[in-house]
């Protein structure tokens, strides 16, 4: 299986001036939409809807925002590291400095990538994985580490 980790979807040192979740989601959507304004709005909407259900900040300074988009061909997976921590209403109350983003097709028949995401979700519960991810020094290291772990 080819990996869903793509170099151009790893973002480091992203500045969220207001340090709040709203702006962070807007910026993440902008980064993932590749300058398609209409798609960007849909992404913002989908991420917010998911956050309304319950915060995806599951503690330890990491959040896993995800969006389901109807008509999407392939899942998009991104890593966004913030320049400074963002308030995410996480369940442990800690601000978030790294977001692992998953955008998946809403149609059930395009579900082949879900095992990968499930694996990722499980990895994020692993202290060592999180420690290593947080201690990557730059974008390239983030990419290499994710690529190694996600195959």
């Amino acid at each position: 299986m080819s990996t869903i980790v793509k170099r151009e979807m790893i973002f480091d040192n992203i500045k969220v001036e207001s340090r709040d979740k709203r702006e962070a989601i807007r910026i993440i959507s902008h980064l993932c939409s590749r300058h398609n304004a209409a798609y960007e709005l849909r992404l913002i909407d989908a991420f917010r809807k998911r956050e309304l259900l319950d915060s995806t900040g599951f503690g330890g300074g990491i959040a896993m925002p995800h969006a389901r988009i109807r008509g999407l061909c392939d899942p998009v997976f991104a890593v966004v590291r913030f320049a400074w921590p963002v308030e995410w209403e996480a369940i442990d109350g800690e601000p978030v400095d790294l977001a692992v983003v998953a955008i998946t097709p809403a149609e059930p028949e395009k579900n082949k990538h879900l095992p990968t995401l499930a694996m990722l979700a499980r990895k994020l519960m692993n202290d060592e994985f999180v420690y290593n991810l947080k201690h990557c020094t730059d974008k390239n290291q983030l990419y290499d580490y994710m690529l190694r772990e996600m195959r």
Binding site: I91, L114, M119, N126
Partner: protein, 474 residues
């Protein structure tokens, strides 16, 4: 100590697995043997085995939505939480577990209902509920045909039927044609029933053999039994062909003839086998069983002393799970009887169907503070659902307060059913609620409405009384 668990979150993409991983890691650190089943959007994984369940000391259910297969854990000590506390502090979950776990089966309310309901049909696990699901699939495709057939026939009889020494005659050309079209629909519904039972078992290839098989099974002359085997035969054909085709499909077949399978081999073999089995073996016994069942139902519904228990049982079945499997069985009984020309069974079912939502909607409107604000807001809407015969409208009420709502609804539905049976109300449309009366599918509109009103009054009174008593008790 052995601990098992199930995790499920609303989207099933990430948190289901996060919670499962946390529970496994933390549990093993604490020295427990852990098995966690995940119910995510990719389906159920790490499904708990019967043995794991039997050996487990505790069951942790971390879910924000209802999980599948809760009845597997009956008699187990269950600790229910939502996903969030698991991710927040997993260790605390294990600390709380022993104190907060409750033995399932002892807790009142929807758990019990959930478990009781499914156990009737799935005492041996998944297989049986799949069987019921396949039957319902066939029935749901059949129902539109029964509706059209029933309406056309009953309308033409109502407007132009003239009784004569040879039975009911329809002389008007227009109504006569309509009557015949209705009969066509009735003829077609058998193949549809069998066809779509088979399709739900083994897919498209089973459609042709099952439909043809059903036409053989309902043709008394072909069978040599004089009478067809009716819907019983069609159900048998559906399952027979379905599993036959499933079997053929699972055989190892050379690649070169594979393309021929669905268009040539399966239809040919399927029809041949079904025809043989029915003409030589099954036709006689099933035709006999069908005759006996019909005779029994007709006898039960004609005789006042037996009609009332029949009405009570069917009505209670309609009310007990509001659109669930038990309700569907009673409903299907009615539909099948229409197909056999006995409209009284459906009359009982139709009258009972509207009772649950109508009475809950009414109770919510007049019950004031006994109901939550949301429930009162949905009162009118729920009554509307009742008017058009959607029993499911009452489900929110039943879920929020099963102890008081369910008995009321069951008794009310049973009263309606019994009244309809006693008064001999018939219905030619496989549907329920007052709407059936408006479109003229019943034999006597006022009696039909009377049955519904009676049930609704009983059900509403009971729920209001028990709820108010509960409030005084507080």
């Amino acid at each position: 100590m052995k601990i098992i668990g199930v995790t499920k979150c609303p989207t099933g993409i990430a948190h289901t697995y996060m919670a499962a991983e946390r529970l496994e890691i933390t549990g093993e650190k604490l020295g427990y043997e852990m098995h966690i089943e995940t119910q995510g959007s990719q389906g159920t994984e790490n499904m708990l085995t019967a043995r794991q369940i039997a050996e487990a000391d505790y069951v942790i259910i971390a879910a924000d939505v209802a999980i599948e297969g809760i009845e597997r854990f009956r008699g187990k000590k269950i600790y229910r939480i939502s996903i969030k506390p698991v991710l927040k502090d997993t260790r605390q979950v294990f600390l709380d577990m022993e104190a907060k776990a409750e033995k399932m089966g002892e807790t009142a309310g929807d758990d019990e209902k959930e478990a009781g309901e499914t156990s009737l049909f799935s005492s041996s696990g998944k297989e049986q509920s799949a069987v019921l699901h396949q039957l319902m699939n066939g029935a749901s495709y059949m129902i539109p045909f029964v509706v059209v057939g029933g309406l056309f026939i009953s309308l033409s009889q109502a407007f132009a039927g003239e009784s004569s020494s040879n039975g009911l005659l329809i002389n008007s050309v227009f109504w006569n044609k309509m009557h015949q079209i209705g009969l066509l629909a009735f003829e077609l519904m058998y193949p549809i029933l069998a066809g779509f039972i088979a399709v739900s078992i083994s897919g498209r290839a089973a459609l042709a053999p099952a439909m043809l098989g059903a036409m053989i099974a309902t043709n008394g002359e072909l069978l040599g039994t004089g009478e067809g085997t009716g819907f019983l035969g069609c159900i048998v054909v559906g399952y027979l062909v379905g599993y036959l085709v499933k079997g053929i499909n699972s055989m190892k077949i050379p690649k070169s003839i594979k393309p021929m399978m669905p268009i040539f081999v399966i239809p040919f073999l399927g029809v041949s086998v079904t025809a043989l089995v029915f003409i030589c073996i099954l036709g006689g016994p099933i035709a006999f069983a069908m005759r006996s069942l019909n005779g029994l139902l007709v006898y039960l519904s004609e005789n006042v002393t037996t009609a009332i228990p029949l009405g009570i049982v069917l009505g209670a079945m309609i009310g007990v799970d509001m659109g669930g499997p038990i309700n569907k069985v009673a409903f299907f009984f009615g539909v099948a009887s229409i197909a056999e020309g006995n409209l009284q069974i459906m009359g009982i079912a139709s009258a009972a169907i509207g009772v649950a939502p109508l009475s809950m909607g009414l109770a919510a409107l007049v019950g004031g503070k006994m109901f939550t604000k949301e429930e009162r807001g949905t009162g009118v809407y729920t009554i509307f659902m009742g008017m058009i015969g959607i029993s499911e409208g009452a489900i929110p009420f039943a879920l929020s307060d099963p102890k008081h709502v369910l008995p009321a609804v069951i008794i009310g539905s049973a009263v309606s059913g019994a009244a309809a049976a006693f008064l001999g109300v018939t219905s030619a449309a496989p549907h329920g609620g007052p709407i059936i009366g408006f479109i003229g599918a019943t034999n006597h509109v006022m009696l039909y409405f009377f049955c519904i009103v009676l049930g609704v009054l009983v059900s509403t009174t009971i729920v209001l009384l028990t709820k108010s008593r509960q409030r005084e008790g507080k």
